[in-house]
Symmetry: C2
Subunit: 199 residues, 2 copies
Amino acid sequence: MGHIAKGGRGRPRSEAVERSIVEGVLKLIEDGEPLAEISIERIARTAGVGKATIYRRWSGKEELLVDILRGVDDPPPELPGESMRGDIIVCLEHLRRRGVNMRSSALLHNVFAQMKSLPKLWEAYHATVIEPQRRVMREVLRRGMENGELRAGTDIALANDLFVGPMLVRTTLRSDDPLDEGLAEQIVDTVLAGLRPTG
Amino acid sequence: MGHIAKGGRGRPRSEAVERSIVEGVLKLIEDGEPLAEISIERIARTAGVGKATIYRRWSGKEELLVDILRGVDDPPPELPGESMRGDIIVCLEHLRRRGVNMRSSALLHNVFAQMKSLPKLWEAYHATVIEPQRRVMREVLRRGMENGELRAGTDIALANDLFVGPMLVRTTLRSDDPLDEGLAEQIVDTVLAGLRPTG
């Protein structure tokens, strides 16, 4: 959970406090509490801290939950920047790893399942996690078009969906489908080559 | 809502009864009742019928809700069968139309958002709606490989995700993305041709 306890800020025992808050939220979720019912007040009571202690660290429940969700992620990947193909594979591999991590955690799976019916949480997750990833992908594709790796005139938004769509379908919509190592590379190479017979 | 009132079965006023049951469910959902809280008993009370009347028509809450969800769909498409390309476009266009219909109904959007956290409902929807569609796609792809429209040796499951993934990402994960007419054709032709520069 690397991102969560960014810690420090000169306060003694700050990390311990943050950890107890995060653990309080996780306990409520594990106990089957619907996210919609979890208030900052309940979290504070469960963690044994005051509400102000939470609000000093997170602006609200959504930001706190998004931080917990980001904690399951590997850190955002460094792009090698040598080729569009290589950079897209790194981006898709990041999505694949998130899918693998999610599958191993019933708790986080449960949180994601509820998220779509909680518009404020979904928006916060979208703004903090998804939108930055999409910006990176668009930039990678734009550079690929410039250096001739991507067919001239390709619709960048469509190209993005052609690459990430097959991976997201498996990670988010179908929890039984394989997420084998090598899937990112397989998707990228097949989308680049096309499915029409050669020659 | 074509599929819902299949009607008849020799009972007088059967369609009217089914309609009042379906309307009872819709009313409960519109009133903001979480799906998890809606029981056959509540539906019966809201519709002004006995529980047995409901169980004569649907084996349980899940089947009733799936029937309502199917009601928003266009009927399953007839495949022209002239080419793999044409048949895949018809399948994707069906997904696109469902997405368009969903976006115009806050109520159905709400039901789908809740569905992922209700495993029994999700399973029933999967078995009744999604799995038959996937079978059709796999069959279309297999025929395409046989008649030489699809590159020999292509992984059928991967090919399926390459075609449906970009459409499903837009219809299910991103409610703001465009679902323009012609999108199905654009996806199919781009996946077939690939994104690598030609020549």
